[in-house]
């Protein structure tokens, strides 16, 4: 099985590269007959590409969903912030030890309405990924989040968070500055808020790192996002002492959006453009925006204490067990 999105998508990416080359050749071609011939070839290959994509997408299993959720061209938090909000003003720092670039946030406007936006931020190339620490937050990331949550509460702004992290940073520095406490405290502060909170899982919902900013009134999840208690490779390493058995673990963990929806752990699964959000980022952002507005409209009908109570009750119900 493919290890990465690129490897899995290789046949499609090769076709698209070929189509680009043919299209460029057609544009340069001056002879009308030859131009026509190249154009026809482009159309032919486009049909072939659509067929290939169709097969790949309709046959996606849990492991392909993992690869898609991690896909490099997938829109990241700042892409959604750009597309959905205006006047975003980034705020930095936890006022204690530093600024965590793995999480970005600040006030913005959602159709004129002031909101606090926050999310994990991935990078698109090696340099960016290193700068963003692969979207793995350190304690200062969660403490920056807490700062913004508390600010939102003071100024009566709804909170919108975007979840897209493989996990919280597991390094020595993070341990010594209390990564566990930072995650737990971020959740705790979210439960104290009387302003509405909506979270959207847009890529990888990676265990504690994800839930640390997802204790929301409503949790939305994109069709090709994943949400899991442990990365499938980590699960395979523990269960079968073999990280290569990630695909088996992905199936066992039920980490797809559809499963999360069926288990009642996310409120809505948001459809993506066919083939993934990156194939039409404008449409993807439009769908997310409409869903967030609908969630906020429903929460707006509640009073402050009711909003807090609603969030408590939402999570209080979670768990499947029998009583004998």
């Amino acid at each position: 099985m493919a290890k990465t999105w690129k490897e899995w998508m290789k046949p499609l990416l090769e076709l698209e590269e070929l189509i680009e080359k043919l299209r460029a050749a057609a544009a340069k071609e001056t002879d009308p007959v030859e131009h026509e011939r190249l154009e026809a070839k482009v159309h032919d290959f486009e049909r072939r590409r659509d067929a290939v994509l169709n097969v790949m997408i309709t046959r996606m299993g849990p492991w392909e969903e993992v690869l898609m959720a991690r896909a490099e061209p997938r829109p990241y938090t700042l892409d959604y912030v750009d597309a959905m909000f205006t006047e975003f003003t980034e705020l930095a720092g936890d006022r204690r030890v530093g600024d965590d670039k793995a999480v970005v946030g600040g006030p913005a406007r959602l159709d004129e309405r002031p909101v606090m936006v926050l999310g994990h931020q991935k990078g698109r190339n090696l340099q960016e990924r290193t700068f963003r620490n692969f979207a793995m937050c350190k304690p200062e990331g969660y403490r920056k989040a807490i700062r913004l949550f508390e600010m939102a509460e003071r100024f009566r702004m709804p909170v919108v968070t975007f979840v897209d992290t493989p996990a919280a940073d597991p390094g020595v520095e993070s341990e010594s500055r209390g990564i566990s406490e930072a995650i737990a405290d971020s959740m705790r502060v979210m439960f104290s808020l009387t302003v509405p909170v909506v979270s959207v899982v847009i890529g990888e919902g990676g265990s504690g790192g994800a839930i640390g900013i997802a204790a929301a009134n409503e949790v939305l999840m994109q069709e090709h996002a994943i949400y899991s208690v442990i990365p499938p490779e980590g699960c395979a390493a523990i269960l079968w002492r073999d990280p290569a058995k990630g695909p088996q673990a992905a199936a066992a963990l039920r980490l797809t959006a559809r499963s999360a929806g069926e288990l009642g752990l996310v409120d809505r699964v948001l459809p993506e453009p066919f083939g993934g959000a990156h194939r039409d980022p404008v449409e993807a952002a439009d769908t997310v925006k409409r869903a967030v507005l609908e969630s906020l409209a429903a929460l707006d009908r509640m009073g402050p204490n009711e909003v807090k109570r609603h969030r408590y009750d939402r999570f209080r119900r979670m768990g499947v067990y029998e009583t004998v």
Partner: protein
């Protein structure tokens, strides 16, 4: 007991840390702390209850909660049945009411011997109920943690227990109900990164393993060189993440004083309610 082979079964045991031979009677009287090296061996939940609460005051609650296998996860049923047979427990956490130095407390006690103390739906529910019971009945809450983290076999449901239990801690905070957590060996991952770390006061047993990422996960994440006592109670104390490291024999006294001081304001309220 599961701490090494004893040369004469029944009369002697061997310390899991220093390998010295100990008289079983002495070992039990010392609450399973090695008389030579001070190693704190893991306790079952019953031993913990006996070592901590006033004799005869522990009353178990929520005994009817049973795990199911909501994801039909490979081998989960078999492992769960085997854990029940091995421990006699229904799941990894036991909840209840008890008294410490005469003071009422709501308690949750985790037992590592049951599937590594992992937190799935039942453990999360019992911890949440223990915290809510503290609010409803105006008594401090004491939780003994002993867990490798969230229970993988219940997938995302286990992750949600982190949020659920943490929400209950926030409720305790807003209602002025003290919550004291005791980190015993081990307190890891999903349990550490949820209700355990947001307790008002955190005590830890000496040399307990306390950390976010498990060793095998860490190795995959290529963690840089760590100090010798990395992910121990001592490391956490130095980092400011726990309030004190307390010898097992002093825990009851320590908890009694904290419960008395932090929970004193609840007594008049209780009188009003009663």
């Amino acid at each position: 007991m599961s701490m090494g082979q004893s040369p004469t079964p029944g009369r002697f045991v061997q310390c899991a840390n220093c390998r010295k031979t100990l008289f079983l009677a002495e070992f039990l009287r010392d609450l399973k702390v090695c008389g030579h090296c001070g190693h704190h061996h893991r306790l079952t939940w019953q031993e913990r209850v006996e070592a901590t609460f006033d004799p005869g005051t522990f009353e178990e609650t929520d005994t009817g909660l049973r795990s199911v296998d909501p994801l039909e996860f490979p081998e989960y049923r078999e492992k769960h049945v085997a854990a029940m047979a091995k421990t006699g427990m229904a799941d990894s956490v036991v909840g209840g009411r008890a008294r410490i130095e005469g003071r009422r407390v709501s308690v949750a006690v985790a037992d590592f011997h049951f599937m590594g103390g992992s937190m799935g739906s039942v453990a999360g529910e019992k911890v949440t109920r223990a915290l809510e019971r503290g609010c409803d009945e105006l008594m401090p809450v004491v939780a003994f943690c002993a867990s490798g983290g969230a229970r993988m076999q219940e997938g995302l449901l286990s992750l949600m227990q982190m949020a659920k239990t943490t929400a209950a801690v926030e409720r305790c905070r807003s209602e002025g109900v003290p919550f004291i957590a005791v980190f015993t060996d081990p307190t890891m991952a999903g349990v550490l990164a949820s209700y355990a770390s947001v307790a008002d006061v955190i005590l830890a047993e000496p040399r307990a393993l306390v950390g976010f990422a498990g060793a095998r996960v860490s190795k995959q994440a290529q963690v840089v060189k760590a100090p010798d006592d990395f992910q121990t109670a001592e490391f956490c104390l130095r980092a400011g993440m726990v309030d004190a490291i307390v010898h097992r024999r002093e825990l009851r006294d320590h908890l009694g004083r904290l419960v008395g001081a932090l929970g004193a304001h609840l007594a008049p309220k209780e009188a009003l309610v009663g």
